[in-house]
Symmetry: C2
Subunit: 414 residues, 2 copies
Amino acid sequence: MKNCLVAQSGGPTVAINASLAGVIQGAIDSKQFDKIYGSLNGVQGLLNGRLMDLSQKFEDTPMFIELLKKSPSMYLGSCRYQLPDYSEDDAPYAYIFNKFEQYDIDAFFYIGGNDSMDTVDKLSTYAKAIDRDIKIIGIPKTIDNDLCITDHTPGYGSAAKYVASTLLEIGHDTSIYPINSVTIVEIMGRDAGWLTGASVLARNKYNFAPHLIYLPEVAFDEKQFIKDVRTAMDRYNNVVIAVSEGIKDAKGQYISATSAVEDTFGHSQLSGTGKCLEYIIKQNIQVKVRSVEINILQRCAAHMSSITDIGEAFRLGRHAVEVALQGKTAVMVTAIRKSNSPYSVDMGDTDVKNVAGLVKHVPREWINDVGNDVTQEFIDYVYPLILGEPVVKYQRGIPDYLDISHLFPNKIGE
Amino acid sequence: MKNCLVAQSGGPTVAINASLAGVIQGAIDSKQFDKIYGSLNGVQGLLNGRLMDLSQKFEDTPMFIELLKKSPSMYLGSCRYQLPDYSEDDAPYAYIFNKFEQYDIDAFFYIGGNDSMDTVDKLSTYAKAIDRDIKIIGIPKTIDNDLCITDHTPGYGSAAKYVASTLLEIGHDTSIYPINSVTIVEIMGRDAGWLTGASVLARNKYNFAPHLIYLPEVAFDEKQFIKDVRTAMDRYNNVVIAVSEGIKDAKGQYISATSAVEDTFGHSQLSGTGKCLEYIIKQNIQVKVRSVEINILQRCAAHMSSITDIGEAFRLGRHAVEVALQGKTAVMVTAIRKSNSPYSVDMGDTDVKNVAGLVKHVPREWINDVGNDVTQEFIDYVYPLILGEPVVKYQRGIPDYLDISHLFPNKIGE
């Protein structure tokens, strides 16, 4: 028998470890692999020989799979390493494939976003060029939900649930004073507005926040924005605005890049998008205004994940093993939505070239005409993805996650 | 029989509604009051006649008390109204006491922080001056935990749990890259470091974050700070720093006030404390650095509250009713710690003058000598307060909280 290898790349999500758990469980259940290796810090682990025996971990650690499914961030760590074009520099390829040989790797699973799919593409192209039979499979993940072909990406549903819940809680928080106020909430998403749009799910029979939603898919117009805020203030005391960090003006320039601020040392500092909108409002409207950046919490708050998301992330991991055992390579596994009500998805796969380096945007028709809200189509799309809550185990008052000390081999945090 | 009145003031916490629930349950169980009125937006509701019949709400809404205990922010709204000295202007006093008369109010419960206790003090002093027999009782709340006499304040334990859990999740998030990085996490607390200190509870057998903790109780020294960060970087790849928004230099000036930034309009903008430390590190150390402001989430994330905190907030509400029925006035109810292990508290009360306008700081001996961490005494103090998790009900994928549309009477959000 042969072995398989799995690695993670890109930014953290709360579901990426569930996909890793799916790969491990799938590989063990298949009985087709002797060992399951994890490469620490993406492909870098291969380059510097930092591999972890996950089959051993599975045997040694009770509840390993269950804990892994619920632990945030990346159990195997990440990397920012980008492979060169092999026609220009094949040294790292030769090194990596030498390692594949050395560890008898028959299948390599890479969990990540569109940059990681580029790596899957490059490695599988190289394998073909040197006629090496190894299955290289991509497994999608990103809170940004901007991968093509797949209906959605693991990590998105949980982040969407966190964003919607947080907006509801901010709705409660801002409602306490009977005076006008504006609260701007900046949400992650440089290129696509999927996550910011999910804030719409905070609305219920009494909570109308967020009252305005701005996505990068529509050019941001300052005059229209000021008009929108004034109109909202006529209707609501405490206006809450959800905005993507990546909104751009009609020329395609990031709004955050248009209002650099100078610190006391005279250095220009990019202020965030939320801060920019705060300045715009302060300049134009007499009202109490503040901005809130949800920041990295939206991608690491595993205590509030969507069980739909975690379950699908796990299924995609398992499915990747099946796909590899079918002999496929150079593909990314995908979720295919069969029905919204009852919600159901099938697992599929696609040529990784359909995904690598590409971005899926929110369709323009899922955003209202004036560009300050999303439509019912968007709601119908995202709603099923946030449903269901896992039982979070707490230990000493804080969530009980999996030990990640193997990520710090050279420092005291071992 | 007579009636009683309850109101909330100051900033939101996730436990202040549990104290309200305790007052309602206590008043109903005592059978000593005909009606329980809630004043909307603190004492302002009395001034503009916006009272809510909570006894009716209790009868009409199934699970009212249970939902109220778990809903964040302030069911009755808040206000920033400060009473004048009655010797200078007794008009609002005359108006308020006229309303007390009109609604046959025998006891007034005011849930809030040290400013609200000042209101309790002023109202009860006035009552005495005009020889009016009404019991005016303060119930503490604040995530800042800076009220005197009481061992701790409702709202603090839940915020502390949220901060500790978030720091653990940030610890996971920052661990994924095998390169040096510094993450600064700014936590609420203008005057006292109780909440920032609670971040220490994020540490466990594998997570050493936060590696440095800075509280307002110790003068912040930039040189020492740079030295601390360098030392931490020798030991850990990814250094996480927890800092109170209210840290000050040796002259008592807020650090955030020392580095105003100028926006593109040429206006000076106060940047946050976290941003200031970010600039300091960028100026002095070559390392990837970012700052995260937990912001209002730490006071409104009811989906992660401490059941110890919620339970005590409820008990203090009930106890306030008992104290009023004993004929006391001008007091604030208090939690008295009997034992740490097993943890237990008694309920007591104190003259509100011992609390009004005063601030309780973290004892200097609960902070290490060099001023960059807290001691075991601090841990022993805060640990029991974050224990226990309530069952959070979710509806359509987001937490199910109590409808607060009564707070928006004049706008469309009714």
